[in-house]
């Protein structure tokens, strides 16, 4: 039972990281019908920026662990959001009117470019996060000791996802984003500046992805310039699992994928855990071809 709860909380934490990254994929997809393959590298960028800021600004020493982590997260998210906006401007905006697959190749090129930029700046070896950022405490719950980091990650992701949900559902800008996702032409006629909506989506998504990168650094303690591939693929899987273009779907898909992965690693086979996750995805898509929560985007016939 103890192993079960450990795996459950671990799966939830990893799953919420997947969900945060998946939100970036799904929001961009919702508005542009584009798979932003470079998103995974913005996530990596978040992890590295976090490391730089931590070691250069001594945030934790000045503001204490929690305050330091909060300021750090805000700074990382802001910087990665700027990187996301730049990415859109350079790699995607010139391709708005061109065939969709051309934009995919541009995205792949952008991904290679970013990944290698990070490698040239930080080096190819694994980098280690300072171990003493967050207190090494753990909380006794459900008969097991759960590390504090895990709970913080889970809590922070839930807060960010709830914030995003309210932002998308309740504010005017959120309504504009949803409108642009349903029909760009009609949204434009209603006086919505679609290019600004796209820019916004390219800032909010990467900001969440950057925060996820920071969380991976804090949770696992080491980061590498290629780690984006694996996480990106998982998060993209999560977005598809929930129904791409659908924001609650990405959250559900991420958490579910994290749980499937940690449970199959614990009870079935560690070496096969990724293969099992993909098998579950394929099975779900056979039964529900547009993911669990379906797609909100109307199909053009």
């Amino acid at each position: 039972m103890e192993q079960f709860f450990q795996q459950l909380t671990n799966g939830l934490a990893v799953g919420s990281i997947y969900a945060l990254i998946a939100l970036g994929y799904t929001m961009v997809y919702g508005v542009l019908k584009l798979i932003n393959f470079a998103h995974s590298d913005l996530f990596t960028l978040g992890a590295y920026l976090g490391l730089t800021l931590l070691s250069s600004l001594l945030l934790v020493d000045r503001l204490g662990p929690l305050g330091g982590a909060l300021v750090l997260a805000a700074m990382v998210m802001g910087l990665v959001a700027v990187a996301g906006a730049l990415l859109d401007r350079v790699a995607y905006r010139p391709l708005r009117e061109s065939p969709r697959l051309s934009a995919v190749v541009s995205a792949l090129g952008a991904s290679i470019f970013l990944q290698n930029t990070i490698m040239l700046i930080y080096g190819a070896r694994y980098r280690v996060y300072p171990p003493d950022i967050l207190p090494k405490a753990s909380i006794h719950m459900l008969g097991v000791d759960i590390p504090l980091v895990r709970i913080l990650i889970l809590g922070a992701s839930v807060i960010m996802m709830a914030g995003l949900f309210v932002f998308i559902q309740k504010t005017r800008i959120g309504t504009a984003i949803r409108a642009a996702a349903i029909d760009q032409g009609a949204a434009r006629l209603m006086g919505i500046d679609v290019n600004r909506v796209i820019l916004l989506v390219f800032m909010v998504g990467p900001a969440l992805g950057g925060a996820a990168g920071l969380m991976v650094g804090l949770y696992y303690g080491q980061i590498n310039f290629t780690m984006g591939w694996g996480y990106g693929l998982k998060a993209f899987t999560a977005a598809i699992l929930g129904g791409i273009g659908n924001i609650p779907g990405a959250m559900v898909g991420g958490i579910l994928l994290g749980l499937i992965e940690s449970m199959s690693a614990a009870y079935l086979s560690f070496a096969w855990k990724d293969a099992i996750a993909f098998c579950v995805l394929i099975l779900i898509l056979i039964v529900r071809p547009t993911g669990l929560l379906g797609e909100r985007v109307a199909e053009k016939v």
Binding site: V105, G109, F278
Partner: protein
């Protein structure tokens, strides 16, 4: 038409003489280009002509390569004799995995093909059925021989690979011009209209997927024969990305485009070697720039003209 054939013939002869002026290293680069050209052409049928978003083509390449490696090392069957067997194995595998998923729309199909690619790679690493040799792979694959002549050097492989590439170009050209090819293009452009005109879209999609995969399987056979050692590292997601980029960058649905794409994607990193560590960075930037300035690819497919027989007076027309 005759003039075109002449130009192609002269280009082919010049290209065949090219290795006489190159050292073994550059011949090997050309061999890689040839391998990727074959793979790109096989993927072009699926992505370019049928419009199916396949980012897991390396899986079928791997199935072909491992079929060749296993049958050759266990039963000592000559590698080149296994070509049809490899094609059949990859095609059968593609049929089994794609049958239930072929109806999935665009990006859903994309992630499933990525998933299939990853599952195959993980299965190979975990030594599935105890025959794939785990992460070390399989070594000791015998050299291919043709009519008793054993092919060893890069120069000899150059002619083997490019002869196969030439056959590939010819066959895919004929396929593209056929009724079958037109049906694929039709369903790429408008699936609903194609279905309405009596094209069994599921059947044609499946056929295109299986043919493309089978061809990648044969390319896998050549790869196994060339390397004599294969391991799961050769069949990562990255390989699928490279093949995909070759098709789109060169010009989706265009055979000359795919050939140019193969030269660029495989050749450019070699040319960029002078940038040392930054070579992949430059490569990524080049990919973006090329896509931004040539959104249709470098040599996009040209619309094919068809002569319509003149209508007799009084029917339709004026």
């Amino acid at each position: 038409m005759i003039r075109q054939l002449k130009t192609i013939g002269i280009a082919a002869v010049l290209f065949a003489c090219l290795p006489l002026f190159l050292n073994a290293y550059w011949i090997d680069v050309l061999n890689s280009v040839g391998m990727y050209a074959i793979l790109g052409l096989s993927l072009n049928l699926i992505v370019g002509h049928t419009g199916l978003f396949n980012l897991g083509h390396a899986a079928f390449y791997a199935v072909g390569a491992y079929t060749a490696a296993i049958l050759n090392t266990k039963f000592q069957i000559p590698v080149l004799l296994l070509l049809p067997v490899c094609g059949f194995a990859a095609g059968l595998f593609a049929l089994i995995v794609s049958k239930p998923i072929i109806h999935l729309r665009g990006d859903y199909l994309c992630i499933v093909t990525i998933g299939v690619g990853e599952i195959v790679r993980i299965a190979l690493i975990n030594d599935v059925f105890g025959i794939t040799g785990g992460s070390n792979g399989i070594f000791g694959i015998s050299r291919p021989s043709l009519f008793g002549f054993v092919i060893r050097t890069p120069l000899e492989f150059f002619y083997l690979i490019w002869a196969f590439a030439a056959i590939t170009v010819l066959l895919f050209h004929l396929l593209e011009r056929s009724r079958f090819g037109r049906a694929l293009n039709y369903l790429r452009e408008d699936e609903v209209a194609a279905e309405g005109s009596g094209i069994n879209t599921a059947h044609y999609k499946l056929a295109s997927f299986v043919i493309g995969a089978a061809w990648a399987g044969m390319a896998g056979n050549l790869f196994a024969a060339k390397m004599t050692i294969i391991s799961p590292d050769s069949f990562t997601f990255w390989e699928s990305v490279v093949m995909f980029a070759i098709v789109i960058l060169g010009g989706s649905g265009s055979i000359p485009g795919v050939l140019v794409g193969a030269f660029l994607i495989v050749g450019l990193p070699e040319v960029f070697r002078e940038f040392a560590n930054a070579r992949m960075l430059v490569f990524g930037a080049a990919m973006m720039v090329m896509m931004v300035f040539r959104t249709q690819g470098l040599l996009p497919a040209r619309p094919r003209p068809y002569a319509i027989p003149a209508l007799p007076e009084g029917e339709g027309g004026e």
